[in-house]
């Protein structure tokens, strides 16, 4: 048994609830399970991700990042079923998994953009819980 599976199983019931609640596919489930492992390692009291908290985090105006990018919505807009736009003018495919079905299925890509965007918006890394809440919410949309 590898460590990933062991931790996922140790999360037990909460992980099962996550899997049920997410309307997305196995690709998204695997990415979210990886973030659940990270969250558990960072905080043993972690019990599961919270879509409402993720949504609030996505829409919140943060401080500490770039002046032009105080929020996820600065580029992704306030409607995640619609395309967003980078500051350089390039279209960003919608974040909602129901619209962009392969969203959040590539762990390396998710980690890269979480790292970059948290730094651009908050001027720091997101905690695994913060990131996982957002991913969990996006996967349900």
């Amino acid at each position: 048994m590898n460590r990933t599976l062991a931790v996922v199983f140790s999360l037990g019931l909460s992980t099962g609830i996550l899997a049920d609640a997410v309307a997305a596919g196995p690709g998204q489930d695997a990415v979210i399970a990886d973030y659940a492992e990270k969250a558990k390692l960072a905080d043993p009291a972690f019990t599961g991700f919270d879509a409402a908290a993720g949504k609030a985090f996505f829409f919140a105006k943060h401080v500490g990042g770039g002046a032009d990018t105080p929020s996820c919505t600065s580029c992704h807009t306030e409607d995640i079923t619609k395309p967003g736009q980078t500051r350089a003018g390039k279209t960003i495919d919608p974040m909602a998994v129901s619209v962009t079905v392969d969203r959040l299925t590539d762990l390396a890509k998710v980690e890269k953009w979480i790292r970059r965007n948290c730094n651009s918006v908050l001027g720091r890394d997101c905690t695994p819980k913060e990131a996982g809440d957002v991913l969990f919410w996006l996967a349900s949309q």
Partner: protein, 144 residues
């Protein structure tokens, strides 16, 4: 006079190059750079500018554009190997390499009196080549 000649020479260089010279042929470079903007042709910046730009991806014009080490090395090497010719004037007031293509002399000449305020507003940024150059991603910029 000399300055003027240099500017004309730079302009000629820029306008006579073929689309093939402005193609980004490296797949990883194309994929990574074009996530946020078109993958700019390597020859649009001198090697020193690419080196400096790729060393500063943590603050890439206000964005974190960091790459993992393998991708960083690969893309930097491609850009530097295919860079435009060295340009002693492509430095800022502190002598550091210019990082923005839009601050280079040939770019300014090409765009001076070409771009209306309305067009620029629509594009949003000099970085948004395709707003006016529909074939920019295929290296075609001569459609003004």
């Amino acid at each position: 006079m000399k300055r003027r000649l240099l500017a004309v020479a730079a302009l000629t260089l820029a306008t006579t190059s073929h689309a093939a010279d402005r193609m980004v042929t490296d797949e990883l470079t194309k994929t990574e750079c074009s996530a946020c903007h078109i993958a700019y042709p390597p020859r649009m910046l001198p090697a020193a500018s690419w080196e400096a730009l790729m060393a500063g991806l943590k603050d890439h014009f206000g964005e974190d554009a960091t790459l993992d080490d393998a991708a960083l090395t690969h893309i930097r090497d491609y850009l530097v190997a295919n860079a435009g010719r060295d340009d002693a004037k492509a430095v800022d007031a502190e002598g550091k390499p210019v990082l923005r293509i839009s601050e280079l002399r040939w770019f300014k000449h090409e765009h001076s009196e070409e771009v209306s305020a309305a067009s620029f507003k629509k594009a949003g940024s000099w970085a948004n080549c395709v707003a006016c150059h529909a074939g920019a991603e295929k290296g075609q910029f001569d459609d003004e």
